[in-house]
Structure formats: structure tokens, C-alpha cells
Amino acid sequence: MSEQYRAIGWSPAKRASDSAIAVGVALYLGIFLGIGMLVHPNATAETLLIRGLGTAAFLLLHVILCIGPLARLDDRFLPLLYNRRHLGVTMFVLALTHAAFSLVQFHSLGDVNPFVSLFISNQRFASISQFPFQMLGFFALIILFLMAATSHDFWLRHLTPPVWKRLHMLIYWAYALLVAHVALGALQSEHSPLLATAMAVGAATVITLHLAAARKEARVDQTQLPAASSIIAGSGFLDAGEVASIPEKCARVVSLNGERIALFRYDGKVSAVSNVCQHQNGPLGEGRIIDGCITCPWHGYQYQPQDGASPPPFQEKVSTFRTAIVGGRVLVHPEPLPPGTYCEPARIPASEIQLPKGGGA
């Protein structure tokens, strides 16, 4: 977490994942070049390599963009989030190599600086089929560079999660620029329906997944908690539902004015903390209590449920909320306490605790 700087926190799983990425990319490029030489025997190796690198980067970008919404829609995709950064950096390296080869191939043979040539050699902005599509790729590459350069917890901490998150949301506009780059570039000279179909399917998949995940999120935000005045008059507490509805060591997430609170049940108690992990704003309420700590499902950051503080030596803290249990219902006070503030957990009455079958010994 936050104790010291390390370039990459290697683990056996991460090494295996990176090896799989490297093998996958090498296989893709090998197959692409092999088929390319058969289908386009007149094409030069450089041209095929430019196309292979470009399509590999574009394909990988689709995979990366699908991981986020898939993980929001189904927990089984959560492990993919752990390795998304390395996929992103790999994609940037592929895109950069594609751009470098293109610049040399198409803009370095004249008297003009290749970067200047990129911007002045084609000015047909009014034409769709002759549009200077390479500029679109250049601007997308700038965004990808900013993202790859800041894909480290060092930058996440120094930029703060909200700023870092906003910066990395530029990937959506980079994606739009790259769709335009391919549609106005390669698609204009490619008459086989394969590329057009693949692009349409890819864009439809990415858009549908993101809209479906956004819809799911919106449903949570639109749920308003009723006041608990009928239970405790004038207390300001809100009724967050039955305590029995919260599984042991897990949470129920409720929304208050658009901000989410995770109500965790553990060891006969209930505590409430902000649902937003301080690392990458991951959904704490979708995590579990592991070793007595709330554990973020995205990257495993941990917080103590009673005070929202990470266990020493870590320093992350989230807001806590006062809770009470009356008549089998969990009540939560909407006013957040400062991050890291100890808040006495609400005790679940013995009559409300249902022991699992075979348990209680």
C-alpha cells in the first residue's frame, strides 16, 4: 500500500500474467505477419509490422476497456482488474512502436521534420476518405503516454485519486480518437468486410458493457433511504434495512445523496464506512472482511471497520458513520465522521444472530 516506493510489486501471479501477455502479443504478431504475407504478397514487412502492431494495440485496448464494466457486472471478472495496468502499459508500447514505424515509413524520407510532416503533408480536413487520420492517432498516443507514465501508485498518491481518476478517464476519448483513426485510415483502403465488422462488433461490445454497468450503478444511487423517525424519533438516523439482509463478513451498500456507504456485518457487529477506497476509488462494499479488515475487491487495500483506518504501517483512511440496530433494522447516521475516526460498532442482539449450520461450537 503506501509505505514505500517500488517500481513494480512483483508476485508469482503478476509474473504469470505478464508472461501470458508477452506470449499472447508475440503469437498475435507472428500469426498476423504470416497471414499478411500470404494475403498481401506485395506488401513490405515494415507495412505488415505497422499494421500488426496497430491492430494488436487496438485489440488490446478493447480488452482493457471491457474489464472495468465486466467487473462491475460480475464479480468473477474482478481478478482481471489486478493486471489491467500492465495490459495498459503493454498496449501503449505497441501503439508507440506502431507510431514510430509509421513516422519513419511515411514521413522521414522528405526534407521536412517527420513530426512537422505529420501535420502539414495532408490538410484535407473536409474529406472523409482523405482525412489526415494520422493526426488522430498522434493525439490518442499523447493521452496513452500520459496514462502509461502515471500508471503507478506513486502518481496516484501525489495526484490524489480523484485527479488521477479524471486523467485516466481520458482513455474513453483516446478510444474515440482511435476508432476515428482506424475508420478514416485503414478502413478506407480495406475493402474486405472483416475490418468493418470487427470494428462494429468491438465498439458495440465496449459501449453496451459500459452503458449496462452505468445503469446498474445508477439504480444504486437512485435508491433513497427512508428516515428512521418511526424507530428513533428525531435522531437523524436513516433506516438502512434489516440486519439479516447483510451476509456475515460482507456489506450492504446504501446511497445517501449520491455518496455510498458500506454497512459491514462481522462478529456480531455492524460498522459503516465510506464505500470509496482511497487507492483507486474501488467499491469497498463489494469486498469482504479478511483478517478482521475490510478488503477492497480491486487491489486488496485494507481498512479496519471500526475506524476506517488501514492497519499500521499503512496510512489510508476512509470516513466512518454512526450505526445502531433497533428492532432488527440497521440505522445509519448520514453525517460522515472524519476519516479514521473510531466509531463504536452497533452490536447485533443475540436473537438476531443466526449461526450457520453446524456452527456455534
Binding site: H40, N42, A43, T44, T47, L48, S102, Q105, F106, I128, S129, Q134, P162, K165, R166, M169, Y172, W173, Y175, A176, V179, A180, A183, L184, G185, A186, L187, Q188, S189, E190, H191, A196, M199, A200, A203, A204, I207, H210, L211, A214, E217, A218, D221, G258, E259, R260, V276, N281
Partner: protein, 56 residues
């Protein structure tokens, strides 16, 4: 704190859901038609994606 990010994310994808299909359709509609099979003698036009002279 995080709500504006969620709203921004949602709006972005609604815009892209309109923009990207429109862009693809326009690009496909304006695409130059393929030349006849004997066009292999047409010189490469200089278009970066002209690998075999098929680009008019």
C-alpha cells in the same frame, strides 16, 4: 466526492454511444469503391495504407 466521476463516466459513454456508430457509418458510406481486378498496375498513391496500389 466520487459521484461527479460516475456521472461524468455515464455521460461520456452516452455521447460515445451516439458518436462512434455515426462515425463508422459515415466512414463506410464515404469509402472509395474497390478498383477492378486489373488495377494492380496503378502506382501507389502515397496513402499510408496503400500496400498494393489498390487505393485510388
Amino acid at each position: 466526492m466520487i459521484q461527479p466521476l460516475r456521472t461524468s463516466h455515464r455521460r461520456t459513454w452516452i455521447i460515445l454511444a451516439v458518436l462512434l456508430p455515426l462515425l463508422l457509418v459515415l466512414a463506410l458510406l464515404d469509402r472509395p469503391s474497390a478498383l477492378p481486378a486489373d488495377s494492380s498496375s496503378v502506382p501507389v498513391s502515397g496513402h499510408p495504407h496503400s500496400t498494393d496500389g489498390a487505393k485510388p
